[in-house]
């Protein structure tokens, strides 16, 4: 099979699986997960084949001549819009991590949704399973029950996978946007998967609407790009000449070049999708979905898509930044990224929900990537994207495993506690060893534990680039964020796994089945190993020993646009800072939270930080702020202003007034014109005619012939008269 055909076919198996499950297989759990997993494995296989073939071609060659195929999709007056598939080194690495994480998440989902367990006692569609009672060895006890909408889950998640594959293999922004939006829909469906839960419903809508804000801007950006270049394909748009032209023509607003403006608009799409401040609010709420979905959104697909986009359009941003007479969008991007990284990290410190911590850490890490792009470190951003995908998937799946184990305990003991609250855990390392070790690896990777973990390499590269590029603000912000990251990661590990169990449920927690642990193990391999393919050249000792394959591979894509930098003297400052914050944060976290022994104990930081802690715990009151600033006024605008006031009162009021006026006019005409004047006149006429009739009734003989006689006599007389005058003249 040719590469291009394979690329075309790549997104299709999940779509087919979606269609099959929705239309035919929704009754059978086994068939649906078989089909779903089979489909993603097929796509995975295709991705791997393509990846290997891409490796065979080599970075430079592939960057020069990417795999590309397209066909006409939309007509235009002068040009046709083509859509197609595309594979260059960036696509290849993205495809790599997407394929792996998706397969792992799919396999994990089988266990997570309790496949093979009995049906719940009173589970119903739209609520999470509540557990089933089974009789074992003569006594009843509760065990987790299978998800009532098992097949539906696999259908949705397959569609999700389709969206991501579509986005990745697209050769143009339009199909990228299509995949983007399909994922938006899927996130809506999956966050609201337990649709009868009020919180899930609200979260789903919040996710969709918040990302849609970004999407609308992005659509505008795409449209603008289409206007400006007549094409949306990367090959056409990122043509140096086109870029040059875009970068040198002014945009209507903000003093930007067209390229910069389009880049900014597209970036707003990223802000929405990758949950950057100020559109970050949806992501933590998205935890309402099942955990595999969280992993899917946070690692494999959605948020990665945002960063992927911004890296993908980097040539555009870069071109815009190159022209000094226009405002560059890059600082904005860097600012938002760095700010988000710090901002989210601070919130994460004060969260108790195991998934929420991770959610904020995702926002924070995405901020890293965005900031990296903002300072021009696109390769570092891509690198962090990949490593983050692996370890974040690992962490989410791990946390899901923890929750699952906790739920088992909760069901067993019947305690009424939140199985997601870290304060209710503790000491799980003994109960769930595989989960513990894999989680530990993931956590350390997140924290950037030096040298060993992938997270260290990628994060270090970002810091290094920031330092090297003299973006000191970004550098220090990110460094602080890294410290906080290490801190809350260790807080999480300590609270969850170390120490002693703080509740009965934690004591009865169980290791999860193999379908869940195997993905954890596989991902932990990548969480460690993937870092080793991208060790920077300048790194002491190791830099010479290990390959810096990633930098060369992805960098090849951008060498076409970015001039080779002069050999920058690489300082050791960022490296040291990186190691310092990582280890310091970890240590600090362990020290502070080591002493938590009771479930209802207040957070050790609560007292020293005081109101700041409350602020952090309430996420800086952003939800409330948005509700006050946007949501409530919008509701008022919609219900009261537009509908009740403008439509019903003003416009309809005018109409009704006109109607009433006409009505009254008609009444007036009838009562004062028609009846007295016109009818009166008619009546008078009739009366007059009657009078005449009375006068002339005498000559009515009633005999027809009489009348005729008279008439004819007149004719004769007339004839004679005429004849008389005719002859006279």
């Amino acid at each position: 099979m040719t590469n291009e055909l394979l690329l075309w076919l790549l997104p299709l198996p999940p779509l087919l699986a979606f269609a099959l499950i929705v239309l035919f297989l929704n009754k059978s759990n086994k068939a649906s997960h078989t089909v779903a997993i089979l489909s993603v494995v097929l796509s995975w296989l295709g991705s791997m084949v393509l990846f290997l073939r891409a490796l065979g071609i080599g970075a430079e060659a592939l960057a020069e001549h990417p795999m590309h195929d397209s066909l006409v999709w939309l007509p235009g007056k002068t040009s046709l819009l083509r859509i197609g598939v595309y594979l260059d080194p960036l696509t290849a690495v993205t495809l790599f991590f997407v394929a792996w994480t998706i397969v792992m998440i799919f396999v994990y989902s089988v266990g997570y949704h309790n496949y093979g367990q009995p049906k719940g006692d009173h589970d119903e569609k739209g609520y999470p399973p509540h557990g089933a009672t089974v009789e074992e060895h003569g006594h009843k006890h509760k065990v987790p029950s299978i998800e009532p909408m098992y097949a539906r889950f696999f259908a949705f998640v397959s569609l999700f996978a389709f969206g991501m594959y579509l986005l990745v293999v697209s050769d143009n922004l339009l199909t990228l946007f299509a995949g983007w939006e399909i994922m938006g829909l899927c996130s809506f469906l999956l966050i609201g998967f337990w649709f009868k839960k009020e919180s899930a419903r609200a979260a789903a809508i919040k996710a969709f609407m918040t990302t849609r804000v970004g999407d609308v801007f992005m659509l505008l950006g795409i449209a603008y790009l289409y206007v400006a270049t007549g094409s949306l394909a990367y090959t056409d748009v990122f043509n140096p000449e086109v870029l040059h032209q875009l970068a040198h023509s002014p945009a209507p607003v903000l003093g930007m070049s067209v390229a910069g403006f389009i880049g900014l608009l597209l970036f707003i799409g990223t802000v929405g999708k990758s949950a950057q401040w100020p559109l970050h609010v949806w992501l933590p709420d998205a935890m309402e979905g099942p955990t595999p979905v969280s992993a899917m959104i946070h690692a494999a697909t959605m948020v990665s898509a945002g960063v992927y986009l911004i890296i993908r359009v980097f040539p555009l941003l870069h071109a815009a930044a190159e022209v000094p007479e226009f405002l560059s969008p890059m600082p904005i991007i860097a600012f938002i990224g760095a700010f988000t990284a710090l901002f989210a990290a601070t919130i994460a410190v004060a969260q108790n929900d195991i998934k929420r911590v991770l959610a904020y850490s995702t926002i924070s890490q995405l901020g890293y990537m965005v900031a990296a792009v903002g300072i021009g470190a696109y390769v570092a951003a891509a690198f962090h994207l990949v490593t983050h995908a692996f370890f974040k998937a690992l962490l989410f799946l791990g946390s899901g495993s923890v929750i699952h184990g906790m739920e088992h305990g909760v069901l067993h003991t019947g305690e009424r506690i939140d199985p997601q609250n870290m304060y209710n855990m503790g000491g799980l390392r003994r109960k769930m060893p595989i989960t513990f070790w894999t989680f530990l690896i993931g956590g350390f990777a997140l924290a950037g534990f030096p040298v060993v973990t992938a997270g260290f390499w990628s994060k270090d590269e970002i810091l290094g680039e920031a330092f090297a590029g003299h973006h000191m603000g970004v550098f220090w912000t990110l460094a602080v964020a890294a410290l906080l990251t290490a801190f809350y990661t260790m807080r999480q590990i300590t609270l969850t796994f170390l120490g002693e169990p703080r509740t009965e449920a934690a004591k009865h927690a169980h290791e999860t089945p193999w379908t869940m642990t195997v993905p954890l193990m596989v991902l932990s391999v990548f969480a460690v190993g993937y870092g080793w393919v991208g060790v920077p050249k300048y790194f002491p000792v190791l830099g010479g020993l290990l390959p810096h394959w990633f930098q060369e591979w992805v960098g090849a894509v951008f060498h076409l646009y970015v001039k080779e930098e002069q050999a920058v003297s690489h300082s050791l400052v960022p490296l040291l800072v990186s190691i310092l914050v990582s280890l310091g944060g970890l240590a600090l976290g362990y020290v502070v939270y080591r002493g938590v022994t009771r479930a209802d104990q207040p957070d050790p930081l609560a007292r020293p930080l005081g109101p700041i802690f409350t602020l952090l715990k309430n996420k800086y009151y952003f939800d409330e702020l948005y509700a006050f600033l946007f949501v409530r006024p919008a509701y008022w605008l919609a219900e009261v202003f537009t509908f009740r006031w403008l439509d019903r009162t003003v416009i309809d009021g005018i109409l009704h007034a006109v109607a009433r006026l006409s009505w009254n006019l008609g009444q007036f005409l009838r009562n004062y014109i028609d009846l007295p004047l016109i009818n009166g006149f008619g009546d008078a006429l009739g009366e007059g005619a009657k009078g005449f009739g009375r006068l002339f009734r005498a000559i009515q003989s009633g005999r027809v012939q009489h009348y005729m006689l008279v008439a004819l006599a007149h004719v004769v007389a007339f004839l004679m008269l005429v004849y008389y005058y005719a002859t006279m003249s």
Binding site: Q705, L709, L712, A713, V715, V716, L719, M720, Y723
Partner: protein, 182 residues
Amino acid sequence: MVAYWIFALVSLLMVLAALVAVTNRNLVRATMGLVLVLFGNAVLFVLLEAYFLAVAQVIIYIGAIAILIVFAIMLTRHVGDAWGPAFHRAWAWAVVVAGGLAVGLLFWIAHWPAADGKAKSPVDPQYTKLLGKALVAPDGYVIPFEVASALLLAALIGAIYVAWGGRRVKGPYPQRSEEKEA
């Protein structure tokens, strides 16, 4: 030459028949006189090369009007019988007026220069076809044509209504009361 003879013969016949039609006491005979006049008129039309009108004359006057008259006579008993005087008392006045009319008309015709005129040009062989088209052409005679149609329809409905005589309409199989009682 033949045409002259035919014309003379037919005209004479027509006048005689007309006299019969207005004087004969027996209405059926009077009607037959009328029919003869109508037929004679059709012959004159043929002489005038108005073939279509000749045929129409026969169809409408003889085929419809005369038959209707006959029918009416037969539907009303005794009316067709030769009974009583044909004219009412004031018939002399009628003679006077009709005579006056006759004198007037004859004078007119006699003194009208165009009266001894000859036909200007022959009739187009396609005349009937053209006439048909003219009758329904919007810039032709469609309005008189439609008015005539409307008139005929009105007459049709009116005649039915008037002659109906208020009889009740019954179903095709009137239920006889005996049958019901049985």
